[in-house]
Structures are given as C-alpha cells and as structure tokens.
C-alpha cells in the first residue's frame, strides 16, 4: 500500500482506512493489524507535530517483504533530524514522575524489530520493520 496523506492529525481517518484495506488484502492477524496501526499513527503524528515546516503531505508505505512487515513514512522538505533527540522513556518511574512524551516511539521500538531514520536531500524516511515468522 502506498498513500499520500495531508500533514494533519485529522488525516488519521484516511490513514486508518488505508491500513484496514492493507490488512484485509494481506490477511494479517489482529495482533499484526494492531501493531501496524500503532506504528503508522505514532510515526505519522510525530512527523506532523515535530516537522512543522515540511511539505503539506506525508507518504505512507506498507508492505510485506521477506516475511517482514515494513512500515515506511516519508516526509519531504524538512530540516535534518537528530535521532539522538529522542529521549528514552523510563516506564518504571512512579506515577508522579511519569512523562507522556516519547512513549509512542518507545512502544514502536518494543513492538517492532527495527526502527531506523534516514535523512538526505531534505527528505526524512522513517522505517519500522517487524518479523512475521513464528
């Protein structure tokens, strides 16, 4: 599945419709469908919120490649991205010290086997991959 979506949080309805169609077409089980939605939403909303100067759309690619689910988002005309700016999340802190920021990336990192960021020619490409072999 390849789709281009408006750089807006309210584009998520369109994004989810495309994911649902992909899930049905590929016959993915519910846990993988859930993981796909989570990765796409977390990465999409991060791009919308943090790369505010980018173009007006974000591309989303979903594929099954070599028994891996590959989720790839491409953001155009953006400033360089520093992956080290993503602060790790400590999920063992007491309630009063918990922070919400960074939780989305934490979840994607734990559910997927790879999460990589590539930047060149003012284009940021974020890829999450999950092994589907049992």
């Amino acid at each position: 599945m390849r789709g281009s979506f408006n750089r807006r949080i309210d584009a998520l309805d369109d994004v989810f419709r495309s994911i649902d169609a992909f899930v049905v077409r590929e016959g993915l089980p519910e846990p993988i469908a859930f993981a796909t939605k989570l990765a796409v939403e977390e990465l999409f909303t991060n791009l919308v919120r943090h790369n505010t100067g980018g173009s007006d759309h974000i591309d989303v690619d979903l594929a099954i490649e070599d028994e891996r689910l590959v989720v790839r988002l491409t953001d155009f005309d953006v400033e360089p991205f520093d992956e080290s700016s993503i602060q790790p999340v400590d999920v063992h802190l007491p309630l009063e010290d918990r922070k919400v920021g960074g939780l989305g990336v934490h979840l994607v990192r734990n559910i997927f086997d790879e999460l990589t960021y590539a930047y060149s020619d003012r284009t940021l490409c974020v890829t999450a991959a999950k092994n589907l072999e049992t």
Binding site: D10, F16, P94, L95
Partner: protein
C-alpha cells in the same frame, strides 16, 4: 469512530478507536471525574500513546486526592500495550 460516556453505574465506557485525533474528546470527559472510577475497555478496539497520555493525566490528578482509575476488560492487545507502557504498575487493572 470513538466514543466515551458515563454509564448509569458510574463506569466510563470506551468504544472504537482512541487515536490522536480523539484524545481531546477523551480528555474532556475524564476531566469531569473527581473520584475513583472504573473504566471499561471492553469495546475499545485501539489506543495509541496520546490516549494513554490522557489516562495518565487523569490518574495523576486523581491520585493527588487519594483516588484512581480502575481499568477493566482489556483485550490481549491492550494488556500487552499497557504492560509495555508500564501502566500495569500505576493503574489497578481488573
């Protein structure tokens, strides 16, 4: 489609998909909660980190007055997600 409402017994009922575009809707209802309350996830299909953040905000606020949210009817997917987020140590889960 996401919905959040109070049941007659006081429980909060969640249904549908709680994604980033629906977080404000969830927040507006949870802000009206002032005492310990059960939140029923039985009809909730999906939640992302912003939805989790709304729950965290409510739990933190309620804990200041000795109250808290009790989370009920979590699916296997949601249970796994809550565990990864470390929510199993800061919420009571039925």
């Amino acid at each position: 489609m996401f919905d959040i409402r109070r049941a007659e017994n006081g429980d909060i009922l969640l249904s549908g998909r709680l994604d980033a575009s629906q977080a404000d809707k969830a927040r507006s209802v949870l802000r009206t909660v002032v005492e310990s309350c059960r939140v029923d996830f039985g009809d909730l299909e999906y939640i992302s980190s912003l939805g989790l953040g709304v729950l965290l905000e409510a739990q933190r606020r309620l804990s200041e007055s000795g109250h808290g949210l009790k989370l009920a009817n979590l699916s296997d997917h949601l249970s796994d997600l809550f565990r990864l987020a470390g929510f199993d140590t800061i919420f009571e889960i039925e």
